[in-house]
C-alpha cells in the first residue's frame, strides 16, 4: 500500500539523518567506570577499566595481561582499529570523544602527526625503561613514550651467495653493483610500512641524491612488491621459501626464523637499517588517568617488555628485559641505524612517496 511504502521510506530517511547528526555531536565514551583521578600526592590504588586502542598486529599473551590485572586491580581491554594508518585515523576522527584511555602502536612515521593534533596527555613514566640507554637513543615525540622498536634492514640469503661463490653485499651502494643485478626485492612505500622505512632510510643516507639512487636501483633490476609477506614469502630465495631473489627487505629480527639445523641461512645487512619505533600515549579525554598511567608503566615493565620479541617480533626498550637466545645469536641490532626525526617524516612523507611512485613505478 502506498502509505506503508511512504512510511517506510520516510522513517528510513529520518532515521539516517538523525543518526548522522548524532555522530557530529559528542557521543558518550566506551570506557566504563572511571577510576580514581590522579590528584597530586594521592597514593590511592587506580581502579576500573583501562581501554587500550591498538593496531591489528598487536599481540600479548593472556597470562601476562592477567598477571598485571591481578597485581594492579585494573581491567585492561584491548580494542583494535585496523592497521597503523587506520589507528591514527581513529584517533584523529574521535578526538573529541576518544574511545580509549591509552593508545599503543603509533610508529615514528605517524608519531608527530598525532603529537601535534592535541590528542595526547603528556606523561613521563617513572619506569626505568623510559630512561634506558636505548630509549635515549630513540627519536622522541611530544606526548608519546617509546615502548619498542625494530630495525628494517635488507636480508640476504647466505646459502645463495655461498653456492654462487659471490660475496654478499654490505652497504646500500653495493646494491647498485652489476654483479647483484636482478637480485633485490623491496616493498612499495605507499602500501607497506617497511617499504616506507626503507625509502626514508635512503633519503636519510643520500640526502637529495636519493632519487638518483633509486633510478640506479631500478636500472639494476629492482623488483617492487606491495607488502612484506609478498617479498619475504614469495620472492626470498632462502631455503624455506624457494624464491628467486636473494636480497629482500625485511627486519633485523627475521634471521632467527631461518635457522636450519642450528645454522643461520640468512642475515641482516646491518649497514642498511632504519630504526622504527613504536610508541604509546595517554589520550586526553580519558577519565581514568591513574589507570592509564599504570598501564603505560606496565608496558615499560620487564614482564611486558620480555614478551615483545616473541609476540610482536620487536625489540624492547628496556635494558633489563630478557631477549630470546636465538635473537642474541642471530638477530643483532644495527650499531648505527639510519633514522629521521618524526617531525621531518610527517612533513616530507607524502611528497616523498609521490615522487618515489613517479620515479620507480611510473
Amino acid at each position: 500500500m502506498r502509505t506503508a511504502r511512504m512510511l517506510v521510506t520516510t522513517s528510513f530517511i529520518v532515521a539516517v539523518t538523525a543518526l548522522s547528526a548524532c555522530s557530529a555531536s559528542s557521543p558518550s565514551r566506551v570506557s566504563a567506570s572511571p577510576g580514581v583521578s590522579a590528584s597530586p600526592g594521592a597514593t590511592a590504588r587506580p581502579t576500573g577499566t583501562v581501554t587500550v586502542l591498538t593496531h591489528d598486529s598487536f599481540a600479548i599473551p593472556d597470562a601476562t595481561v592477567k598477571k598485571f590485572e591481578q597485581a594492579s586491580g585494573l581491567t585492561v581491554k584491548f580494542v583494535a582499529a585496523g592497521d597503523g594508518g587506520a589507528l591514527v585515523n581513529q584517533l584523529v576522527l574521535t578526538k573529541d570523544a576518544p574511545l580509549a584511555d591509552v593508545v599503543y602502536g603509533i610508529d615514528n612515521t605517524f608519531a608527530s602527526r598525532v603529537g601535534d593534533a592535541g590528542i595526547l596527555l603528556p606523561y613521563a613514566s617513572p619506569a626505568p625503561a623510559a630512561s634506558s640507554k636505548i630509549s635515549a637513543g630513540l627519536p622522541a615525540t611530544k606526548g608519546l613514550t617509546a615502548i619498542d622498536f625494530s630495525d628494517v634492514c635488507l636480508n640476504v640469503d647466505l646459502t645463495y651467495f655461498a653456492s654462487h661463490d659471490l660475496a654478499a653485499p654490505k652497504t646500500l651502494d653495493d646494491l647498485l653493483d652489476p654483479k647483484y643485478r636482478d637480485m633485490v626485492s623491496v616493498t612499495n612505500p605507499a602500501t607497506s610500512s617497511p617499504g616506507l622505512a626503507f625509502l626514508l632510510e635512503t633519503v636519510a643516507a643520500k640526502g637529495d641524491g636519493w632519487k638518483d639512487y633509486w633510478t640506479a636501483l631500478k636500472a639494476n633490476g629492482l623488483r617492487v612488491t606491495s607488502s612484506w609477506s609478498d617479498t619475504y614469502f614469495v620472492d626470498f630465495s632462502a631455503p624455506n621459501y624457494g624464491g628467486d631473489r636473494p636480497i629482500v627487505l625485511s627486519y633485523a629480527s627475521s634471521p632467527p626464523s631461518e635457522v636450519i639445523d642450528g645454522k643461520p641461512t640468512t642475515a641482516a645487512l646491518l649497514d642498511t637499517c632504519f630504526r622504527q619505533v613504536e610508541y604509546a600515549g595517554i589520550l586526553k579525554g580519558t577519565d581514568n588517568v591513574a589507570g592509564a598511567q599504570a598501564v603505560v608503566d606496565w608496558m615499560l615493565s620487564d614482564d611486558f617488555q620480555s614478551e615483545m620479541p616473541n609476540s610482536m617480533y620487536v625489540y624492547p626498550v628496556s635494558d633489563t628485559a630478557s631477549i630470546p637466545q636465538e635473537w642474541l645469536d642471530y638477530a643483532p641490532l644495527s650499531p648505527k641505524p639510519w633514522s629521521m626525526s618524526p617531525t621531518e617524516i610527517t612533513t616530507r612523507r607524502d611528497d616523498l612517496v609521490k615522487e618515489w611512485t613517479g620515479l620507480v613505478l611510473g
Partner: protein, 543 residues
C-alpha cells in the same frame, strides 16, 4: 477511451509487503548507511581548502571500470557453462563439485593473491603491467565463479523443459533452443549475478594491491591509500562518493536490463537435472567444466601442496601445530578457537542475513517499486570496506545509554558480515521468487489461501532450495570476510581469516606452512557448510 468511475481496488496479493522492508532497511541504515555517511561527511569537512589529486583519481576510476568489466565478462563466460553442467545435469559428484566451486569465494584474498603470485613468479610477463592486470583478472574469475554458479544455477534447474523441447521439435538445435528459450528466462538471474560480480571486482582491494604490486590503482585501493597512508580523508571521501556513484549507476543499468526482461515464470518446481546422455553428453559436461576447473584447480592445489610440504617431506605437521592448543603468532588464541569463532559468526550471519534477504526479495518481486530496495541492498557490496570500517569505528563503537556497547557484545563483526551477506542472499533468492508463476499464487488465493498461506504453502516449497543456497553463500561470505573484520575484531579473539593474516606477517617456514594449512582448514569448513546447505534433503528440513 477512459475507464470511468472510482478505482476500487481489491488489495494486492500480499498486503503487508512494504512492511517487510522495514527490518532489512533498518539494519542497513544503522550498520552501513550511518557509518558511511558519517565518514564521508567528516572527510568532506576536511577536504575544504585542500587540493585533491584529480588526475590520480580519474585514472583510478578508469582502471576500475576496465578491470571490473573484463573480469565480469570472463567470469560469466566460465561460470555459465559450469552452472549448466552442475545444475542441469545429474551426475555423481555434482553436489561436491558445486560445493567446491564455493570455496575460492571464502579464501582470504591475501593468501590467494600470494598463491597466484607464487605461481606466476617465474614468468617475466607477470612482472609487466599488462601481466599484472591479467593476473588480477584471473584472480577475479577465481573468486567470483562461485557467485554465477550459485545465483544462476538453481534458477536454471527449475526451468520448464517443455518450451525448450518445443523449440527443438521445431527444428532448432540444442544450442539455439537454449539461446532462444532458456536464455531469456535466465536473463534476470544472469544480470543479477553479473551485477554482483562486477561489484565485487570493482571493490576488490586485496587482490589488486598484492597482484598489482601497489602500482595498479583502482578506486578502492586509492581510498585505502589516501585514508590510511596519506591520512587524506578529504580525498578518500571524494573517492568514496565517486565509488558510490559508480556502484549506483551499475546497479541502475542492471535493473533496467532486468526490468526489460521479466522472469518468464517458467519455474515448474521439480529439479530438471537429467543424466548425461552417452559419451557426447559426458563430453559436454567435461567441456563445460574445464575452464572453471583449470582456474580453480591450479591455485587450490598449490595451496594444499604448500600446506603439506614440510621440511621433512610431505606431512601434516603444520596442521598438527595449528591445533595443538598453543597460542599462535603471539595471538592469545588457538586455531581451534578461531575456527570455532568463525563458524559461530557464520551461522549467525547466515540466519539473520537469509531472513532479511527473504524479506527484501519478497518486497522486490511483489511491489512495483520494490526493485529499488534490492538495489539499495546491493550498495554495500561495492563500497570500500575502508570507508565502512573507519566509519563504523567512528559511529558504532559508542556506548549506548544503559551501558550497552556493540563492541563489548561482540556484535560488530557479525553485523558487518550480515551487511555484506544480505545483498548476496537477496540476489540468490529474488530470481527464484520471480520465477514462480504469479498465476500459481493467484490459483492458490482463489482457493482461499491468504497471502501468508500462499507464501508458506505454494511459494516456499518452490524457493526452498534457493533459500538454502542463499544461506550457504551467506555463511561462506562470513567465513571468508576479512576487509571489514580487521577493523572490528578484538585482539585476542581473531577469526580464522584474521589469524591467517597474522601468521603471514611473521617470518619462518612454520608460520607460512601454518598459514596455508589454516587456509585449507577454512576451505574444508566452507565445503562442509556448502554441502550441508546444498543438500536437497536439508532443504526439506527447513520447512
Amino acid at each position: 477511451m477512459t475507464a470511468r468511475g472510482i478505482a476500487r481496488r481489491p488489495p494486492r496479493l500480499s498486503i503487508e509487503s512494504w512492511w517487510l522492508g522495514v527490518a532489512p532497511l533498518a539494519f542497513l541504515a544503522v550498520f552501513f548507511v550511518w557509518p558511511t555517511t558519517a565518514l564521508i561527511a567528516r572527510g568532506l569537512g576536511d577536504a575544504v581548502g585542500s587540493s585533491l589529486p584529480w588526475s590520480r583519481m580519474a585514472s583510478a576510476a578508469l582502471t576500475t571500470l576496465t578491470l571490473s568489466t573484463v573480469g565480469t565478462v570472463l567470469t560469466l563466460a566460465i561460470g555459465l557453462p559450469a552452472a549448466w553442467a552442475l545444475f542441469r545435469r545429474h551426475w555423481m559428484g555434482a553436489r561436491f563439485a558445486t560445493a567446491l566451486a564455493t570455496v575460492p569465494f571464502v579464501l582470504p584474498t591475501i593468501v590467494v593473491a600470494t598463491a597466484f603470485r607464487a605461481l606466476t613468479r617465474g614468468m617475466h610477463f607477470a612482472d609487466t603491467k599488462p601481466g599484472m592486470l591479467a593476473t588480477i583478472v584471473a584472480a577475479f574469475v577465481f573468486f567470483n565463479v562461485a557467485v554465477v554458479v550459485r545465483v544462476v544455477g538453481p534458477v536454471w534447474a527449475q526451468l520448464d523443459d517443455r518450451q525448450f523441447w518445443a523449440a527443438r521439435t521445431l527444428g532448432a538445435s540444442s544450442f539455439r533452443a537454449a539461446m532462444n528459450v532458456q536464455l531469456p528466462a535466465l536473463t534476470p538471474a544472469i544480470v543479477a549475478a553479473a551485477a554482483t560480480v562486477w561489484l565485487f571486482c570493482s571493490s576488490s582491494f586485496g587482490v589488486v594491491i598484492v597482484l598489482g604490486g601497489g602500482s595498479v590503482a583502482t578506486i578502492d585501493t586509492e581510498i585505502w591509500l589516501q585514508a590510511n597512508r596519506f591520512l587524506d580523508l578529504g580525498a578518500a571521501a571524494f573517492l568514496g562518493i565517486a565509488q558510490i556513484l559508480v556502484v549506483a549507476s551499475t546497479l541502475l543499468v542492471a535493473s533496467l536490463l532486468r526490468g526489460r526482461l521479466r522472469g518468464s515464470g517458467l519455474s515448474r518446481g521439480a529439479a530438471q537435472a537429467k543424466r548425461p546422455s552417452g559419451p557426447r553428453g559426458v563430453f559436454a559436461i567435461v567441456a563445460a567444466l574445464s575452464p572453471a576447473f583449470v582456474v580453480f584447480a591450479v591455485p587450490l592445489s598449490a595451496l594444499v601442496w604448500r600446506s603439506v610440504r614440510t621440511r621433512n617431506g610431505i606431512g601434516l605437521d603444520y596442521y598438527a601445530r595449528l591445533f595443538d592448543g598453543h597460542e599462535l603468532a603471539g595471538v592469545a588464541s588457538s586455531a581451534a578457537s578461531a575456527a570455532g569463532r568463525s563458524l559461530t559468526i557464520a551461522v549467525v550471519t547466515a540466519t539473520v542475513a537469509t531472513t532479511l534477504a527473504l524479506a527484501v526479495a519478497l518486497v522486490a518481486t511483489r511491489r512495483r517499486r520494490g526493485g529499488w530496495l534490492h538495489i539499495g541492498v546491493l550498495l554495500p557490496l561495492g563500497v570500500s570496506s575502508v570507508v565502512v570500517g573507519l566509519g563504523s569505528l567512528l559511529t558504532l563503537t559508542r556506548r549506548l545509554p544503559g551501558g550497552f556497547s556493540l563492541v563489548d557484545a561482540d556484535l560488530l563483526v557479525p553485523a558487518a558480515h550480515i551487511v555484506v551477506a544480505l545483498p548476496l542472499a537477496a540476489t540468490v533468492i529474488a530470481p527464484a521468487l520471480r520465477a514462480v508463476d504469479p498465476r500459481l499464487r493467484a490459483a492458490a488465493a482463489t482457493l482461499g489461501a491468504s497471502p501468508t498461506r500462499v507464501f508458506a504453502l505454494v511459494e516456499w516449497p518452490l524457493i526452498r532450495r534457493s533459500v538454502a543456497m542463499a544461506a550457504g553463500i551467506a555463511a561462506a561470505v562470513s567465513l571468508g570476510e576479512f576487509g571489514a573484520t580487521t577493523f572490528l575484531v578484538r585482539p585476542g579473539a581473531p577469526t580464522l581469516p584474521t589469524l591467517i593474516f597474522h601468521l603471514l606477517g611473521r617470518p619462518g617456514a612454520e608460520n607460512l606452512g601454518m598459514a596455508f594449512a589454516a587456509c585449507v582448514v577454512l576451505a574444508v569448513m566452507t565445503l562442509a557448510v556448502a554441502m550441508v546447505s546444498d543438500n536437497p534433503r536439508a532443504g526439506r528440513m527447513m520447512t
